[in-house]
Structure formats: structure tokens, C-alpha cells
Symmetry: C2
């Protein structure tokens, strides 16, 4: 039997305490977003709910810098957004170029290959940005249907030059697919100005909404490619040709039951960002980032990424020699209630990933983290032996 009790919260939920979420996501959730999440569930075809859906589409367009009609949250986490963009746009044999300088570029490659695309990659050293000239050269060598890149590489803290990459793609006619999972809501995203044709994000980074939804947007060109498919999208759940009939038009046709309460939370989270003002929100991320970097430098800690390519919301900090990186993370979480992230892939054990995303990106959080980190670095239990 489980430890259920019919008149109170489950013990594991009761025991939960607020954690200062300074990892690679989820980020801290504002109280009003929790309040939104717990509003009464209504039907997914209720006119009051359809009104909320329409408002979310407008909010997302503003945040993404796009006028695209097809701009909706997909019913899955950020990775479902990636899957949605690729599965709707790829037909078997399509040529795809993925620009890879971290885990999420690698993941794009894996996703596209599973869909039977002919995938090439251009690889750049992890911790450095994509080089636009290399992209230009590759595009002169071969014709691609789709070129894909990650704006903010969450695994390394690198910002890729998506506007410049868009410029070299435009003359080739390829569709341009951009991952903005970590950037959206924390730094300018200008989908239309970049010439991006498909864009996806997640709710649990700079939107400061719990994980569970993936905002996406398709340009008219992307929609045309979708409509011209010779074969059905090989994924019923994420088939945008069906999903749009629920999200658009006067008559909304049931596809799957929308995650109603998560959408309440997203509506509120987007409302908070737009009310604060995009420029203010981005400035707050920048200020918190600079405060963090200055504080780390006082401890003689180094960043993985060169200043010009650093993301404000994801800071890759090199673990100093002699420090047990796992022990530090454990101590921060257990004793200070602060979560930071570990490195992934080749950076596992070499970096910490310190997130300053959305609601988390505030000076008092930076200071609290720096104090706790200072304690950990001075703790003999956090030294590595041998």
C-alpha cells in the first residue's frame, strides 16, 4: 500500500521545500504562476478556454518577434518542440544540415536521422560559437532543405549568432530551424528578423513556468512545406496539420485533450514577462549575469566561454582543480537549498552550469549563490582526494 491519506497532501509533496533553482532549468516559478496552475480545470473546448488559447498565441508572437499565424504551445516539454519541428518538416531523404556545438545540436542530429533525413553536421568546439563562415562554405558545397541550430546551447552556455547564420541561409532557400529553448524570454528572440522558419522553446527556462509545454512557431514557408508533404507526418500526436484545426479557426476540432492547467500557467507566465516589458526583462538577465561573473572572478573561478559568446542565463563555470564538483552541488542543494547543474557529455565533471533564468535572474539570488559557493569551496568535504 502507498502512504496515501484521503484528507491531506501526500507526505512526499508536503515535505517539498522551495529550492532556488539555478540549474539549466527548471527555473524558479513566480507565485502567480503557481496560482494560475491551480485555477479550476475546464473543458478543452469550453469557449473560456479557447479564449485563453487565443491570448497565448498573441503573447507568444510578441515574445518570439513573429507575425506567424502558426504559433502555439505543443503539449510536451521542450524536447517535444524539437521533435515537432523536425517531424513535421522532414520527409525521408530530405537533406538537413545541423550546426553542432553542444548536446542539443547533437540531439537535433539524432532526431532528424530517426526521421530518415540525410543529415550532415558541422561541428564546432564545445564552449565556442558556430562560425558563420564555415556555414557559408558548407552551404556553397551542398544544397539543404533544412538548416538547424541552437540559439542558446544549454550544455555549454554559448550564444550562437543566429541572425548572421540566417543571413547566409536565406539566399539558399533552405528552411531555417532555431532552438530557443533556453533563450526565449531571457534575451531578444526575433524570429522574423532572423528569417527563421521554425522555432521551438520550452516553458521551464526563462519563461519561469513549470516544465510541460513547448511553444513553437512556423513561418508561411514552413507551413507550405508541411502542406506539400507527400506522406502523412509520421507522428500522429505531434502532427501540426491536425493540431492547427484545434488551435485555429472558428470551429475548433478536438485533436487531443489540451493540458489545460499547464496552459493557464503559461498564459500567466507570459503575461508577467510582457507586463514587466521585454527590454526590462532582458536587462535584468544581463545585470544578474554580470554580477555573477564578477563574483566568480573574485573567487578566481573561470568561465568556459569567452565574454563575447556568453549567454546571460546559462553560465558554464570551470570546476577548479582539486574540487569535487559533485560534492559542491550536493552541499549547495542539501544545506542551502540551491540547485545548480552538472556538465553534460565531454563537459561532465569539468563545469558547473549556473542558470539565471526568468524569475531566478535577480541580484539577491546571485548573492545567495555566491555566499553558498564560497562556503562550499572552503569546505574540506568538497575537496577531491588524489
Amino acid at each position: 500500500m502507498t502512504d496515501a491519506s484521503s484528507d491531506s497532501l501526500m507526505p512526499r509533496l508536503k515535505r517539498l521545500r522551495e529550492v532556488l533553482l539555478m540549474g539549466p532549468g527548471p527555473s524558479c516559478v513566480p507565485p502567480l504562476v503557481y496560482e494560475a496552475l491551480a485555477r479550476p480545470t475546464i473543458g478543452h473546448l469550453d469557449p473560456a478556454f479557447i479564449d485563453i488559447m487565443d491570448a497565448i498565441k498573441d503573447q507568444l508572437r510578441e515574445l518570439m518577434g513573429t507575425g506567424n499565424r502558426l504559433t502555439i504551445p505543443v503539449s510536451g516539454t521542450g524536447s517535444a518542440g524539437m521533435e515537432t519541428c523536425f517531424v513535421n518538416l522532414i520527409e525521408p531523404g530530405d537533406t538537413v544540415l545541423v550546426l553542432v556545438n553542444g548536446v542539443f545540436g547533437q540531439r537535433m542530429t539524432d532526431v532528424a536521422k530517426r526521421l530518415r533525413a540525410e543529415v550532415d553536421t558541422l561541428e564546432f568546439q564545445w564552449g565556442t560559437p558556430v562560425q558563420v563562415e564555415a556555414v557559408r562554405e558548407q552551404l556553397q558545397k551542398k544544397e539543404y532543405r533544412i538548416v538547424a541550430v541552437v540559439h542558446a546551447e544549454t550544455s555549454t552556455g554559448v550564444c550562437n549568432p543566429v541572425a548572421e547564420i540566417g543571413e547566409v541561409i536565406r539566399p539558399t532557400g533552405a528552411l531555417y530551424l532555431v532552438d530557443t529553448v533556453t533563450s526565449l524570454g531571457g534575451m531578444p528572440v526575433q524570429m522574423d528578423a532572423w528569417g527563421a522558419d521554425a522555432l521551438y522553446s520550452g516553458t521551464q527556462k526563462c519563461l519561469s513556468c513549470p516544465p510541460g509545454l513547448a511553444p513553437i512557431s512556423f513561418s508561411e514557408r514552413a507551413v507550405q512545406k508541411l502542406q506539400a508533404r507527400a506522406t502523412k507526418v509520421p507522428n500522429w500526436y505531434l502532427d501540426l496539420t491536425l493540431i492547427v484545426n484545434y488551435w485555429e479557426g472558428a470551429q475548433r476540432a478536438y485533436h487531443h485533450t489540451a493540458p489545460v492547467n499547464m496552459l493557464y500557467a503559461l498564459h500567466q507566465a507570459l503575461g508577467l514577462i510582457l507586463a514587466e516589458g521585454l527590454e526590462n526583462v532582458y536587462a535584468r538577465h544581463g545585470t544578474a549575469h554580470r554580477r555573477l561573473v564578477e563574483g566568480l572572478e573574485e573567487f578566481d573561478l573561470e568561465m568556459l566561454v569567452e565574454p563575447g559568446a556568453r549567454l546571460p542565463m546559462l553560465n558554464a563555470v570551470l570546476v577548479p582543480d582539486g574540487v569535487d564538483e559533485t560534492a559542491v552541488r550536493r552541499k549547495l542543494l542539501a544545506e542551502s537549498g540551491i540547485e545548480i547543474g552538472a556538465g553534460l557529455g565531454p563537459l561532465a565533471g569539468r563545469i558547473w552550469r549556473v542558470g539565471l533564468m526568468g524569475h531566478t535572474a535577480r541580484p539577491e539570488n546571485v548573492d545567495r549563490f555566491l555566499d553558498a559557493l564560497s562556503d562550499a569551496l572552503n569546505d574540506p568535504a568538497c575537496r577531491r582526494i588524489g
Copy 2:
């Protein structure tokens, strides 16, 4: 600009009122589940969260009547559960038999075909159950890798004889895939006793949790088929060979960021069901169903389905001649705050679907609905002209 205000709930969320959800899902959510949903978000690799994940797996096994190790909630709605089962088990050319007597059997067919299976269907009249003898005959004619059926057909209110179907499948060696989206938590589900190899459900029906998660379970035989695949699962997001490394074992490997708060809600919802006791919960659904049918009979309304094949939690009521079915549903929602569902496909306009799922399945809700329906049937505005 949107109508955001930084210090209060968005107006559309503030305006939301409790609706008595008596449609085909979502169902009414108990207050403790809303409370669970709004607990503080923590990291998806936080030990406290992994503890909740492990508890959910145990709760699901109890509810599903299975000892299967691979028993987890997938990060999408019920339809993502369907997609997960098919995409992990099907390889191109696999023979699949789908037993179809409603929308969700049809959907299974569509999903399987997109995955390049060789799909046959056995069709039964909508509103009647699958006939076991017809299944037996078909299985003698041809060898199948997978046979799929819906336990509780949400589009018609029919209960299919899944235990008996399992008996005729067992000797053939085919994998047996059962949709329990609407049945789980409202009537006995005995995955192991049925000999089912893959099972999926949704949270927004009899679990009375908001929509957004899809509990699934795979038998050892299903896991073996998965592990023996010649090709990667053509869907990265729902690839169980990767997802299990996050849900199982001592070292949890990040796959995608789990929908943390939705999982809190599921843990609480399952806890409430198990604390009430499965037999009590099923009896409550049966009692509410009988009260509803008796009440409808007093209005001379008829059910689509014969008594022996009726589901307790989804009641298909024939719309009487001369009644405007849309006007009735609109009036119920606008004036009484009660949502019921419309018919789908060939049953559109012919039936109402009255849900008695989970927290909704209570006598006072049945009575409130019957009173409101009586008013609507007597309202000249709900008569059809011509």
C-alpha cells in the same frame, strides 16, 4: 499589448469558474490535486523528485494490476500514450490488427499506419462491443505481431471484453496492446491477468488529474520486442529505451525535463484513489452510473449501448427527436456550469456523452445534471426547428 498586470492573475484566469465536468474528460479535479499541482517546482534530478517518481511507478502498478517494471507516466496527454506504445513496438512491415468500434480504435489505425506497419482492422458497429469470435477467426487466418483494442471506447460508451480478447490472442504469440485511457481508475484494470503487453492511459479521466500525462506499462515481452529492434525508435521524445534510463536505476540519466508539477498532481490523484480503495472507487462509479440511467429513463431518454456493454464512466445518451443537441449543451454550460460532451464522427449530433469520471462520479453531481437537463429539455430554445 496583452492585458497583463504584474501584481495579479491574468483577467481570463481570474474569471474562470468551477465547471461540473461531465463530458468525456477532463473530469473534476479534487482540491488536494490542485494543491499538489501548485507545490514548489524542484529539479527533475533532485533526489526528492526521484523519490516521487518511484512512488508514482508503484501507485500505477497497483492501479493497473501489473508487476511490470516498465510502468511510468509519459510526458504528454493520453494520445501521447497511444503514440508511445505503437512507436516503440512497431517496426516497418510489422503486422498489426486493430479492433475498431469507435474513434479511438480508428485513431490507433492511423497511428500504426504512419509508422509503416501493415495494418488490418476488424470493424464492429459503433455502440456495440468487439465480438470475441470474430477476433478468434481473424487470428486463425493471419499471423499478427500486435493486436490492439480500446477497453473503454470514449466515443461510444462501450466496454470491450478485453479479458476474453486476451485469451484468444495469447496462443498466437502476438503482443496485446490495450487503451485504458477512460477505464483506468473507474473500473477494474488487470493488465497482467488480461495478458496485456502494452497499456496506456491518460490523467484527465478517472484519475481526476488535469490533462497532461499518459501512464503506460510494458510487459517483459514488450520490453524484449523493444530491445530487439533492428532500427532506432523513430521518435526521440517518446523513445522508451532512452526514457527508462531516467525513470529507472541508481543513476538517473537526463532525457527530457520531466513535467514536475504535473507529476506532483498525478502522485496526489493516485494517492486519493488508493486511499479510498479500488473496490470503493469502482462501486462509486457504478452507483453514479445507475442513478444517471434511472434518471434518464424517467425522462424517456434512451442509451446508445445495450445494458451489458455499458461503461459506468461514459454514458452515450441518444438525443431525442426534435431536440437541438447543441443548444442543450450550451445552455447546460452557460446557465448551470455543467459540461457534457457531443458525439464524434458518425455519432455527431446523435448522442450526448455524459461522463461520470473519478471525482465527478457522485450522486449529487448526477442529480444536479438531471435537474439541469430537465430544464433544458423543457426550454423552447432547445427545440429543433423543422
